[in-house]
């Protein structure tokens, strides 16, 4: 009886957690690169119930019924809890922004030989001002799908949260005021479908666009994460790598096996081969509002049902407390 009370209470608690997770998904419906979380509900560990001082009991296979021993009734789950919030790494829609510092990342990276899911991320890092010239420390590197960037006052490419965008050698990308660049790239930055960083100049005579690779930053730091669900979600759109999963740079041989991309094809979104970046576009959140709203309503109803169970049990208890044993009641 009272066990049921706790079971329903655990249900309410779990549903409350789920509601929080759903509310957070809904709140981030316009956050670029956001990946929705799916709350996973799980039953409490099972208990084996037995009746004391009774030889008559259920015959549970594998467990002998011994005379004089408590008879086993069966298994019981005494509740539910939300064990984890599983991020869904499905690709979000992409939308055009025409901003040179917006980049949509599209990939159909296939699972590895063991069937592990693999996903592609940008690597970003928070770096101390003094260490900007060096590659970022491994522990500072974070992974994100948010390609909605801007340029800070020092000329570095940064995310909205202030993380520096890294190139393939884990160095912050500087496109303005860079002494090694000679000239400022700024709005003339071009990022190819393969993530190569280039500068567009217009030939003074032929008026044709010329693409030259940035001398210091060859490619964006794209990282393939095996089993991305093992990444620690830090909020602010970034994930942290921790533990035994594999993070590797995108394989250049894999990237180059496609036909070479001719210059000037930056206007149409294309997924070439196994991954592609599209400048001037950004990836939207993959939250499905209809699905989230429906889940919220079912959470509400389940919550209500659990409350009814508690009140019913409470009513029964009331009877036990106040009516049983009353003479001439």
């Amino acid at each position: 009886m009272i066990r049921g009370l706790y079971t329903s209470a655990s249900g309410m608690l779990a549903l409350q957690n789920r509601q929080e997770s759903l509310a957070n998904n809904l709140a981030n419906i316009n956050t670029p690169g956001f990946k929705q979380d799916v709350g996973v509900m799980r039953a409490f560990p099972e208990q084996l119930l037995s009746r004391m001082n009774d030889k008559e009991g259920l015959d549970v296979p594998g467990i002998p019924t011994m005379p004089g021993q408590p008879a086993i009734i069966g298994r019981l789950n005494t509740g539910v809890y939300m064990s984890e919030a599983l991020p869904n790494f499905a690709q979000g829609d992409i939308e055009e922004t025409r901003n040179p510092y917006d980049l949509a990342l599209m990939d159909n990276i296939q699972p590895d030989q063991n069937g592990n899911e693999r996903r592609l991320f940008y690597s970003v890092a928070r770096i101390e001002q003094a260490n900007l010239a060096q590659p970022a420390q491994q522990e500072d590197i974070r992974y994100t799908r948010n390609g909605n960037w801007s340029v800070n006052s020092d000329g570095y490419l940064v995310t909205a949260e202030g993380y520096y965008v890294l190139d393939s050698s884990n160095q912050a990308i500087r496109i303005n005021h860079d002494p090694t660049l000679g000239t400022n790239v700024g709005q003339n930055l071009k990022i190819s479908e393969r993530g190569e960083l280039m500068q567009v100049t217009i030939d003074p005579i032929t008026k044709a666009e010329q693409y030259t690779a940035l001398p210091t930053h060859a490619r964006l730091g794209l990282a393939v994460v095996t089993d991305p669900q093992k990444l620690v979600r830090e909020g602010t759109n970034v994930f942290r790598f921790e533990g035994d999963i594999a993070v590797e740079g995108i394989d250049l041989a894999e990237a180059n096996d496609q036909a070479a991309i001719t210059a000037g094809t930056y206007n149409t979104p294309t997924v070439v081969g196994r991954f592609g970046t599209q400048q001037g576009w950004r990836e939207r959140s993959n939250v499905d509002p209809a699905q989230t709203m429906t889940s919220m309503m079912s959470v509400l109803r389940a919550y209500e049902a659990n409350q009814r169970v508690i009140t019913t049990i409470d009513g029964t208890l009331e009877k036990a407390a106040n009516e049983i044993g009353r003479v001439n009641g």
Partner: protein
Amino acid sequence: MQSLNISTSAMRGIQQALDNTANNLSNIDTIGYKRRVASFSELLTDSMNEQPATDNQNRNTPMGIRIGSGAHLGMTKLDLGQGSLKQTDVPTDVLIEGDGYFLVTRKIKDANNITVDEESRFTRNGSFKLSYDDDKGYVLHTSSGHILTDENGANIVFPEPVKNISISPDGTFSADGMPAPVKIGVWDVENPDQLKQVGENLFDAELAFGAGPQSKYTSAYDNGVTLRQGALESSNVSMTEEMSQLVNIQRAYQLNSRAIGISDQMMGIANQLRSR
């Protein structure tokens, strides 16, 4: 219940995005206006550990359950796309074709009429008027009273009112009654996003008093920028885009307000536990 705070934070951000869209829409006819694009970002995520100790197997994610904190407006980014051309045939209207800014200045005087400082501003608004300035003579100024400068950052001043004004694509300003042609300065700003917007379509050029623009900026003519006389650059706000953005954020607002409603109902249900 955290979910109330989560949805509230999102609604606050959405409201700010709505403010931004409203400002873009209200400047749909402002010459040289550059729209801003609101972009959201996620707030911190916390990991709660309220699981039974036995819950350490068959997990896909690290230990604990994550509770997010919602979203906020991360930044509003300047969209520097070129606005469409608006033909006016006014001789003192100039359009910049390409990336570049006019430098305009205004003297700031103290009570004794002595210049103590100078406001240096960048603008893409090429709608200039020729009028008389007490200190100098005839000048080209913007609607905010800032005077257009030449390629050295000095004010363009004529002793007499000029006629038959002609501005060539390379910025040379010549007219009848003018001693010698001057060249209108157009400056290349590497990172206009980082300049402070001071209203009236102006960006703070962040030049110290007396410092010329050459100390910080390079001339934009080297990058293929040309001028066009008798035309203005319209605002780069597109009505359809802003309206679809409006619909988008209104729906997001509604969804989050529904989420608050549902969380509230859940709290109500919890409250009714003992009210039978």
